[in-house]
């Protein structure tokens, strides 16, 4: 081969390597950016007057006097809509048969869309379901709902052999010539003053309970549940992991027993997480009966087993990295082995051990499969410390899955889902950043 070709190949080879790293970075960005961009909308958004009303009534926060004034002006803006509807109801009865039937069903759609946009009509009975008591709390969702009031969705199947295409038919056409017709224009132009949107920073998204299965409110039970599970898992796994690492590095003589121990640890690291979940169900709950059914305790134990190998490995590495001379110095001063481990070895290995702990905390916080059968429920109240021994809890990872796939109104609460993903990802990223920072400090200290 010619030299120039060899050089081209060499460059191309380096290029492919770079390309793969760039691709990795790009995929990271592609995954994280939407999560951040959309997740932030759970915290920062334009709230409508309905949201302020809901917060005041449900969470008892906000200025009720100011709200009354705003509410008054919103009601004035809404009045023409209700007037038009009332007028149309009367008009409807005067229409002839076929047109009446046609318009009646269409009017029902308008009524329900309007109710979901602006909340219940004044004077109607209060529904027990929270979602029927308030209109749209978010301006972006209100826009979508407005679309549903103004247009009718229809599918065009006119072209045979192809999938139907979606069409939006203006309802104004349907109701042309009736007394309802002006309402559509009024709604479109005056929606602003009817809902009075305003930018808000809803940081209490993290600390509010959810209402009516996450249609309103925040994600506190999930955050708390995740914290409980993570900390619980660490309580079991950290002492066990560090002790095992001490045994493996300081006490064990190389031989068959250590070989078996090591094989088992790496095997444990390879067990699929869903199998841990089944095992937790079969062992901790059905056999040991640490709790009668799912509980935070059982979930923590299952998670602890899952992260045990990580902690053992990290601690072992950290302990092995401590210079042998420290040990010798301590022993030569008359320290016993245990004393040496506690006063010299562990303090010197602590940053390394902490790195491992912090990273496995991130792992425990994000794992879903092991807690499905052992700890997680879809809806629940925040638990007290004592309840964690017996009660299941909602948790971020599980509820992300749950809300994204099994919720009745998946589309309506996208912002909650994204907000949860963002919270979870940020939690994990903070933990990892801590680990990276600790490691950088170790590296600096080793140099200095």
């Amino acid at each position: 081969m010619e030299l120039s070709t060899r050089k081209t190949l060499d460059r191309a080879f380096s290029g492919t390597g770079m390309f793969s790293i760039c691709l990795m970075t790009a995929s990271l960005l592609v995954i994280l950016l939407p999560v951040f961009a959309k997740g932030i909308k759970a915290f920062v958004f334009r709230e409508t007057i309905e949201n302020r009303k809901m917060i005041l009534e449900q969470f008892h926060r906000g200025d009720s006097a100011a709200l009354d004034i705003e509410w008054e002006s919103a009601r004035t803006a809404r009045q023409p809509v209700y007037d038009a509807m009332q007028a149309f109801r009367i008009e409807l009865d005067t229409l002839e048969g076929s047109r009446r039937r046609e318009l009646r069903s269409s009017f029902r759609e308008v009524e329900s869309a309007l109710q979901s946009l602006l909340g219940p009509e004044p004077g109607s009975t209060l529904s027990p379901l929270l979602r029927n008591r308030y209109g749209q709390t978010r301006w972006d969702r209100a826009q979508v709902k407005l679309q549903q009031v103004l247009f009718r969705e229809a599918w065009d199947y006119s072209r045979p052999g192809e999938a139907g295409t979606r069409q939006w038919i203006p309802r104004k056409q349907t109701f042309a010539g009736t007394r309802l017709e002006p309402m559509f224009d009024h709604l479109e132009t005056k929606l602003d003053s009817m809902l009075q949107p305003r930018w808000t920073f809803y940081w209490r998204f993290l600390s509010d309970d959810s209402r009516d299965s996450h249609l309103f409110g925040g994600i506190w039970p999930e955050v708390l549940g995740t914290l409980y599970l993570t900390i619980g898992a660490m309580l079991f796994a950290v002492p066990m992991g560090v002790i095992a690492a001490i045994y493996l590095t300081e006490y064990a003589r190389p031989g068959r027993v250590v070989q078996i121990l090591r094989t088992c640890i790496s095997t444990l690291a390879g067990v699929p997480s869903i199998v841990f979940g089944l095992f937790g169900l079969a062992f901790f709950i059905n056999t040991l009966q640490v709790s009668s059914s799912k509980s935070v305790l059982a979930g923590s134990m299952t998670l602890a087993l899952l992260i045990l190998p990580t902690i053992i490995r990290a601690s072992e590495e950290a302990i092995l990295a401590v210079p042998r001379t420290y040990k010798e110095a301590a022993l030569s001063l008359g320290s016993g082995t245990w004393n040496m481990i506690l006063t010299v070895l562990l303090p010197a290995a602590l940053p390394g051990i902490l790195t491992g702990i912090v990273i496995s905390m991130g792992r425990a916080a994000g794992e879903t499969a092991p807690i499905i059968f052992t700890a997680a429920v879809s809806v629940g109240k925040p638990l007290t410390l004592l309840q964690t021994l017996t009660q299941p809890t909602p948790a971020l990872p599980w509820n992300i899955y749950n809300l994204a796939t099994e919720h009745a109104a998946v589309e309506e609460i996208r912002h909650v889902q994204f907000g949860m993903v963002l919270t979870l990802v940020v939690m994990v990223l903070i933990l990892n950043a801590t680990a990276i920072a600790i490691r950088a400090r170790i590296a600096r200290r080793m140099k200095g």
Partner: protein, 286 residues
């Protein structure tokens, strides 16, 4: 390993060691009263790594409150022998001993020995300075704390005294709270000496304490050894013959695990009995 030289050498030591008991040196020195049992004494003492013999049937008496240097080419077993005196070899698996190594008349390797109090009385300074990654104060106070001293005033007193003994007090008295790893190499080594002195040992073992230091720091450590002689029994392993000649009162020459010659430093360097010693000292090998 050439077994022929060993076979020649071995009978000579076993003859020589009992023939020249050296508990009372010719030069009385600053030692006021020699104790009745010598502190460290080896009797037909061997160390084995598995099958391989690192130290062969050494018999010697290390004189009290004097500096004894052990010299010899690398791999001759001098460090191994030194580490046996406070049982640091326990850390190495498959290392065992035969014969007797006595401290205060007790066999160091007997299972009845309390390793902790042995090591308290036999301190050690290592090849590379190895202060803990703690403050200067905590480094020196580490030992006393192990033995239950919690009173801060007592600790301060011990720390000051040990650091002064190690000729380091003036340099670090304002930085007692700083991390010991920030000191220079020579200072670190003197700190390690201070740390060893803080538990008030009888014997101080030094395993090539200056091999990692620059000449200036080496000189300071050597001065320090000269100051400490008389208060402590010091055993120093060195591959540097000039150093042995400078700091020690007695010198032992080890070759391939065998004690070839042991005597007063002046005599050994000026008029060695043994051909191998002479070859080594004159730099023909090693």
């Amino acid at each position: 390993m050439t077994s022929s030289t060993l076979n020649v050498a071995r009978p000579r030591i076993t003859l020589e060691a009992p023939a020249a008991p050296l508990p009372s040196p010719v030069d009385p020195g600053p030692a006021d009263a020699a104790p009745e049992t010598p502190h460290v004494q080896a009797e037909q003492f061997s160390i084995l790594y598995g099958e391989a013999m690192a130290v062969r049937e050494i018999s010697m008496v290390i004189p009290d409150r004097q500096v004894t240097a052990i010299i010899g080419p690398s791999g001759c077993g001098k460090s191994t022998f030194l580490r046996a005196i406070n049982r640091m070899n326990d850390l190495i698996p498959c290392c065992h001993t035969t014969g007797r190594l006595l401290f205060d008349g007790q066999d160091i390797h007997s299972p009845q020995i309390d390793v902790i109090s042995l090591r308290k009385r036999v301190g050690m300074v290592f090849q590379k300075p190895n202060p803990f990654p703690k403050s200067v104060f905590d480094n020196v106070a580490y030992g006393p704390r192990l033995f239950g001293i919690r009173n801060i005033r007592t600790l301060t007193e011990i720390v000051e005294r040990s650091l002064s003994r190690a000729a380091l007090w003036d340099e670090v008295k304002d930085r007692l709270a700083q991390n010991a790893l920030g000191l220079s190499g020579g200072q670190q080594q003197r700190l390690c000496i201070a740390r060893a002195l803080a538990v008030e040992p009888d014997v101080l073992l030094m395993d090539e304490p200056t091999s990692a230091l620059d000449p200036k720091s080496t000189a300071r450590i050597e001065d320090l050894i000269a100051e400490l002689r008389g208060d402590y029994t010091i055993v120093i392993v060195t591959h540097n013959m000039q150093q042995a000649a400078r700091v020690s009162d007695f010198t032992a020459f080890l070759y391939e695990g065998v004690l070839i010659e042991f005597g007063q430093t002046r005599k050994l360097f000026t008029n060695p009995h043994n051909k191998q010693t002479e070859d080594y000292i004159t730099g023909r090998f090693g």
